[in-house]
Every structure is written in structure tokens, then in C-alpha cells.
């Protein structure tokens, strides 16, 4: 092996990579030897909470994910549902909490970029963005800066890419003082016969890299996203990624143009842990091996090491497997859009991820050991007992009480936020922010999609089970209130440190409640994301399982909107 890997693996290094002693032993077992530094880096990201879902996987398996209209449930880049007429809606929600706390503008912006890629990777044109935001108390010295940076970042990215940001939710609570939540959701539309998946196939087929060049951005971002914060973490990790929405816009157009041909066998965006996780996941799903020649990776900086290339989180990149012989045609499309295109490897039958660099092998790992055989934990949990309802004395002055409520941070107008988002671009937004669910027409058809994100974290704290149920039900109500038929949900499960049984209990409780509501409403979960360790110095956030629901409306002219229409109209109250 070359000297680029000439780093002695010490216990400290293993620890710095977020791996436990047991996990390190497991790596040695899988390899039958000590890993080199590149391999250590790769195991550390693949086995991080963020990529491996090691604390949550056993529980996620219990969620209801099926219905006749579900075309693809959890496991792919995003979930897919049938919306009739041969069309599909593809959507997912994802967190970008930790990066947004460190650098609110870029953190939020790259969060939007990442979720957009998850959706157009599958062949969909993104048609709507949503976001669910939680900040600390308004008087906290950091809150103002974080709110304005996050909102500007979401707008900066979404507006530039030209996908309308049509809604979301925003809450303030002291539990988020040191751990804000930035959850972004994208909904896209595709033809059912043009949906793309990530399973690689065909020994000898070319593995192709497209998009931006690779730099040293966000190396260790994925492990960072799973490590609990300490006060000095802002100092320690200066490497946040900078997004380039302009390149993303070009990437969307180029990918959709290539997808209109029959050249693509498999495609996957490079998200957290970049090249590593995308290639490993594609190989794992297809049951094949990958051999990558790192010399061919387009590089933005000089002298990048294999470790850096494998772990870089540079944005706006995709990995594809093409049918043999289609490289030149594909390359022409990407060049037209002024994007990089490089064949960086091929599919093998070894079941291994093999990396070469300057003529030498610099990494050789069984794919299974990185994915299927990654550690999974059944963490102990205590579902906390239902908290007592507080008794609040009836206000003496009802007018004042109403004013206090609607003037409070959690109920006041969000106009300041959504006016910074282009919520009309694409010309199909027929229910703008400010109502219950947002409604966007399916371009060129009478149909529309209704979309809503909801959760009430204090309910989840008071009673995880009921809180989880309520969040699902609220999206359902918001969608039905517009005239839409709710079809499926995505989610972003934001919790504290899962190694604490009480937090794990909140997680399990919320999940059970969500599942129960989904079954009762015939409203399956088709995609989602888990963000754990949202905790600073031992104090965790309120349990926040954000739900994003999507429904369909056959005739968008029948839409119902929130505003009272005319004086003299009757007002009815229905429900219990």
C-alpha cells in the first residue's frame, strides 16, 4: 500500500472516528486484518448513526409502509406513490440540524440541496419544497441569528433552483437553544415507467460520476451529525459544506434529460459520506462489487488523499451506473449543462468495494460488512409515563388572552418567513403558505397535490404515544381541509441521545403512536430520516417526530381554502 495510507491506527484515532472498541474489533473481524486509514474512515461513516440507523433500525421495521398505492416504500432515496394516470409522487423529508446550527445559511441551504437530490435521483421533477423548523426561545442570544440565517439559506437555495417552497412550520422552545432543527422536504412528480432506483447491476458496467468536483468539504460531516454536541464543537469542526444551487439546477436538468433516454441502470446522489455511501449502497442493493479508480474522481483541490475523496461531502454530485456504450451520449448531455462527467470505475462480482489510487489498491472491504453486517443496537428504553395535564386558571380578560396567544412566538404570523421563499415559481401553487396544507397542481393535469408538515413536540413530550398519533393525524386533517385525499407520509425523527433509556423511550413511544395512526388512517410511511443526539451537555430537545403528509386532489378546481369568503356566510363548527 502507498504511503497515503501510512497512518498508524491508534485507539485514539479509532475513538476520534466515533467507533467503540467493540466496533473496531468487528471491523478487524470483517477484514481479517487491521484497516488502513481510508478504510477506517469508510467504516466510521458507514457505521455512524446517520448512515447505519444502528439505534433506530429495529424499531423502524415495525412501521406500516404498505398500501395498494405505494410503489416504493422506505429504503430507496425517497418513497413513491401512485397518484393516478400513470403518474407518481416521490417525496422525502430530511434533517440538516447540526450543520445549520454551526453555519445557519449554508447548513440550511445544503439541507435543501440534499433533499432535492434524493427526489430527482429517482426520476422526479421536484415540484414543491417544505420545511419544518425549531429554534430556541426568541430571547436566546443566538436565536435571531439562527432564524435569519436558516430562513435565508432555505430561500437562497430553493429560490435559485426554481422549486417553490410552499409551506412548513416553525416553533420556538428553550429545549432547542443549543440544537435547532432544520428539516426539509421535497415532493416531486414522475411518470411511473420512468422511476429510477439505486441497485447497481451488470458486471463490467461503468460507474459514472457527475456534477461538481470533489473538494475537502465537510469531511467527517456524517460522523459529526451523529455525535452529541459539546460547547467547543463549533471550534473543532470548521468544515461545513457550501452549496451551489446554480449547479444543482443544472444537475436537475441534466439528470432529467439523461433519464429520458434508456442509458441509466442505477443512480444515487452523493449525500452524507459522499462517494463512499453512494457506491456502497448501490453495490449492496445490487449484490455486486464496485471497483473505483480514485485518480479519475474530478477534484477541485490539489493533492487530495483517498481518505479525503472517499469522505468528502462536496455537494451537487451524483453517481450512476450506465449501460455499456452509453457513456459518450451521457457525457454530451452533462457537458451541455457544463457539469463534470467521469467514468470512475466498474461493477465487479467480488462483493467488495475496491479502491485504487496511483496504481495501488488503497482499500478493499466486503460490501456486506459495511451495510448489512453493520452494528445494530437494541438500546434499552423506558417509555415515560403520561405527564399530568397542567391546570391553567381561566383568564379573566379573554380579549387579552387571545391577543397574548396570537402575539406569542408559536402562534404569530409566519409571513416574514414565507415571503422570503419563492412559493409561486413553476406556476402551479394554488394554495400558498398561510393556510392548512399547501396545494400545487400536477402540471398540465386537473390534479393537484396537497402537502403539510406537522408535529407538536410538547404533546410528544407529555405523552410520546399520543403525540406521535397526533402529528400524523394533524397532517391528515390539514390535507383533507383543502379537499385532498391523504395518501402517505414521510417523517423526520428528531430526538436526543438514544443511549439514554428515557430518550429511547420517547423515540419508541412516538413511533408506536405514529404507526397506530397510520394504520387507522390507511396512511403509510414511505420514507423518512432519523436524527439522534440532538443534545447539548446532556440536555435533549423535545421529542420532535416531524411528519410530512401528501395527498391528492382529482379536480383542483374543487379546492377549499381557509379564508372566509363573504359577509353573511354561515360559520359551522364540526368534530367533537
Amino acid at each position: 500500500m502507498t504511503n497515503v495510507n501510512d497512518v498508524k491506527i491508534t485507539p485514539e484515532l479509532v475513538k476520534e472516528h466515533g467507533l467503540t472498541v467493540e466496533e473496531y474489533e468487528r471491523i478487524k473481524g470483517a477484514l481479517g486484518r487491521e484497516p488502513n486509514i481510508t478504510e477506517l474512515g469508510i467504516y466510521s461513516v458507514m457505521w455512524s448513526e446517520h448512515c447505519s440507523y444502528k439505534s433506530s433500525r429495529v424499531h423502524l421495521k415495525k412501521l406500516p409502509t404498505k398500501a395498494p398505492w405505494v410503489i416504493c416504500g422506505p429504503g430507496e432515496n425517497a418513497g413513491v406513490i401512485d397518484i393516478g394516470d400513470g403518474q407518481a409522487a416521490i417525496f422525502k423529508m430530511e434533517s440538516h440540524n447540526h450543520p445549520s446550527y454551526i453555519e445557519p445559511y449554508q447548513g440550511a441551504a445544503t439541507g435543501v440541496g440534499g433533499i432535492l437530490r434524493d427526489v430527482f435521483t429517482m426520476g422526479a421533477r421536484p415540484v414543491a419544497n417544505m420545511n419544518a423548523l425549531r429554534f430556541g426561545e426568541p430571547s436566546h442570544p443566538k436565536t435571531r441569528h439562527l432564524v435569519s440565517g436558516v430562513v435565508a439559506g432555505i430561500g437562497g437555495y430553493g429560490n435559485c433552483v426554481g422549486v417553490p417552497t410552499v409551506g412548513g412550520e416553525t416553533n420556538f422552545d428553550p429545549s432547542y437553544n443549543g440544537n435547532i432543527l432544520v428539516n426539509a422536504m421535497t415532493v416531486g412528480i414522475a411518470d411511473q415507467d420512468k422511476i429510477f432506483y439505486s441497485a447497481a447491476a451488470g458486471v463490467g458496467n461503468p460507474v459514472v460520476y457527475v456534477g461538481s468536483k470533489t473538494g475537502r468539504d465537510g469531511i467527517h460531516g456524517a460522523t459529526m451529525a451523529s455525535a452529541e454536541f459539546t460547547e467547543d464543537s463549533e471550534e473543532k469542526r470548521p468544515t461545513v459544506q457550501v452549496g451551489d444551487p446554480f449547479t444543482e439546477k443544472l444537475l436537475i436538468e441534466a439528470c432529467l434529460e439523461l433519464m429520458a433516454t434508456d442509458a441509466i441502470i442505477a443512480i444515487q446522489d452523493m449525500g452524507a459520506a459522499g462517494l463512499t455511501s453512494s457506491s456502497v449502497e448501490m453495490a449492496s442493493k445490487g449484490g455486486v462489487g464496485f471497483e473505483l479508480n480514485l485518480d479519475n474522481v474530478p477534484q477541485r483541490e490539489e493533492n487530495m488523499t483517498p481518505y479525503e475523496m472517499c469522505l468528502s461531502e462536496s455537494q451537487e454530485r451524483m453517481l450512476m451506473v450506465l449501460k455499456p456504450g452509453r457513456e459518450a451520449m451521457a457525457k454530451a448531455i452533462f457537458e451541455k449543462w457544463e457539469l463534470d462527467f467521469a467514468v470512475i470505475g466498474e461493477i465487479t462480482d467480488t462483493g467488495k468495494l475496491t479502491l485504487t489510487f496511483k496504481g495501488e489498491t488503497v482499500g478493499d472491504m466486503p460490501i456486506d460488512s459495511l451495510v448489512e453486517d453493520a452494528p445494530q443496537y437494541e438500546r434499552p428504553y423506558n417509555i415515560p409515563p403520561k405527564r399530568e395535564t397542567a391546570t391553567v386558571p381561566a383568564p379573566t380578560d379573554l380579549n387579552k388572552a387571545v391577543l397574548d396567544l396570537i402575539g406569542g412566538p408559536n402562534l404569530s404570523s409566519r409571513r416574514w418567513i414565507w415571503e422570503q421563499y419563492d412559493h409561486m415559481v413553476m406556476g402551479d401553487t394554488i394554495a400558498r403558505p398561510g393556510g392548512d396544507a399547501a396545494v400545487v397542481r400536477v402540471h398540465g393535469t386537473p390534479k393537484a397535490l396537497a402537502i403539510s408538515t406537522d408535529v407538536t413536540p410538547r404533546y410528544c413530550y407529555a405523552d410520546p404515544h399520543e403525540g406521535g398519533k397526533q402529528a400524523v393525524a394533524e397532517t391528515w386533517r390539514n390535507i383533507t381541509a383543502t379537499g385532498g385525499l391523504p395518501l402517505a407520509i414521510t417523517n423526520c425523527l428528531n430526538f436526543g441521545n438514544p443511549e439514554r433509556p428515557d430518550i429511547m423511550g420517547q423515540f419508541v413511544g412516538c413511533l408506536e403512536g405514529m404507526g397506530e395512526a397510520c394504520i387507522a388512517l390507511d396512511y403509510p410511511i414511505i420514507s423518512g430520516n432519523v436524527s439522534l443526539y440532538n443534545e447539548t451537555n446532556g440536555s435533549g430537545i423535545l421529542p420532535t417526530p416531524a411528519i410530512g403528509g401528501v395527498g391528492v386532489m382529482k379536480d383542483s378546481s374543487k379546492i377549499a381554502t381557509v379564508s372566509f369568503k363573504e359577509a353573511g356566510d354561515t360559520i359551522l363548527l364540526i368534530g367533537e
Binding site: I102, E103, Y105, Q106, S212, G215, R216, D217, E234, P238, T239, V240, Q241, V242, D244, F246, T247, R300, E301, S314, Q315, E338
Partner: protein
Amino acid sequence: MKARIHVTLKNGVLDPQGKAIEHALSNMGFGGVDGARQGKYIELDLNETDKTKAEAAVDEMCRKLIANTVIENYSIELE
């Protein structure tokens, strides 16, 4: 006293603006530009007359507002 502040991206941080300028120049037929980077240039008029004090104050302004030290470097000149 006047402070002239340059805020530039740290090494290795993606600079989409610089990249786009480079690209546009080459499209316009300007050859020979191997790299372009874009930063900010800020001038402040200060009513402080003591240079040491001014320097300290401007440094704090840079750290707290003008530069984003996660991704940017800054430099200060006083005159």
C-alpha cells in the same frame, strides 16, 4: 479613521461565485485566467482615533458580524 476589511473564503471552501466568474470570462474569450475568487471588501468610517483601540474593536466586529469565521478569513487595514 478608516478601516478597510477584506473577507475571503477559507482555503478549500467552495467558491461558486469565483468559479462562475472564471467560467464567464473564458466564455467571453478572455484566455489566461487560471482561477478567480470572490470575496467582500468593506470600508468602515470610525470615529475612534486610537489605532490600537480601533484595531481591537474592528477585529471584534469582524468576528461577531462581518465575517463568518466558519468559512471565511478576514484581514483589517487601518488608516
